[in-house]
Symmetry: C2
Subunit: 197 residues, 2 copies
């Protein structure tokens, strides 16, 4: 992969062989997409890694969303790992529809273009994955499930480095894990396990 | 659904309409399955809810696992949400293969039979979902991805009730979120978001 500039300050590329680690602990994500002049971003609690190499992800994108029509038209999207400082934004982009509101404008979201996929990357997150759709029309239609290959990944070096989330980090940069009704958990303390076998 | 007895002390049924909440915040899970005289359990960091009603889940189960052959033979499995007190067990069942070791015996795992699916339920977890496979041979083969309907769900009432994880609970009952190399995060503190729109 030729070098490309990092999208934001404090941001470093994540090796593709390690990018599943951005999602491995189950954070709530943002999904952005663009097509032509339109762009949108939504929240998704339902996403997961699907493979290591090439890295793949799976995410549920409801039929009613503008994001879905943009993903289907453009063949790509960006997954973002937002942090505690962004909880109000995550709730807002998960509550409003881009068919009625320009969420970027209304929320003052700063973004830059994806380096490899036509999808906006939103500033202030702690992880980003640019994803190319692996078309699976049956699972998209039957389960609202989208499978994609990760073609570029980035992380805020204050939160993630050497292929791992840092455990000592500013509280505002902890990842979010959605409960319901506007309530989240932040990720907590690390612990070591020793195999009992 | 006719009443059936709860599998363990402190355990209550979870309404099926709310059972996605057991997985919504992204915990690492255990997957158990049985067929004939054989049974097994493995760990999986890659699972997520897939639908509300009827509730569905998706989980990645590698081709090399004994659990997978049991799931394919029996058409069902149980997802468990383990807790901090079980971290060593989660690592152990995620490291050893049931083709070589009877993990139940070696680890002294206490279990009971699933109420609706032929899969063991392991004591000491904080959530359980009994799942019937929705056969999708192509996605199973191409992505190791298994889709299932949840037909019964249970939770430890000290950790989950009224359709939500408790935020004040014994530390040992916090859910686990896998990082890598035997390291987990425990879930942390709750926070309220207010939509910025």
């Amino acid at each position: 992969m030729p070098p490309v500039s990092s999208p934001f300050p404090h941001t470093q590329p994540v090796e593709l062989s390690k990018c599943y680690r951005l999602l491995n602990h189950g954070p709530t994500v943002l999904v952005s997409a663009a097509h032509g002049e339109r762009r949108n971003v939504m929240a998704a609690a339902w996403s997961m890694p699907l493979d290591f190499a090439p890295p793949k992800v799976a995410v549920v994108i409801d039929k009613n969303t503008l994001t879905r029509s943009l993903v289907e038209a453009s063949g790509g999207f960006a997954l973002h790992v937002p942090c505690k400082a962004q909880a109000d934004i995550v709730l807002a982009v998960g509550s409003a529809t881009g068919r009625e509101v320009d969420k970027f404008e209304r929320l003052g979201l700063r973004s830059t273009d994806g380096r490899r996929v036509d999808a906006p990357l939103i500033e202030g997150c702690v992880g980003w994955m640019e994803c190319r759709l692996v078309p699976e029309p049956h699972v998209q239609q039957a389960y609202d499930l989208f499978i994609a290959e990760v073609v570029a990944a980035w992380a805020d070096e204050r939160a993630f480095g050497q292929g791992r989330w840092h455990e000592e980090l500013p509280d505002a940069l902890r990842t979010l894990h959605y409960v319901a009704g506007g309530r989240f958990f932040a990720i907590g303390e690390g612990l070591d396990a020793r195999s009992a076998l």
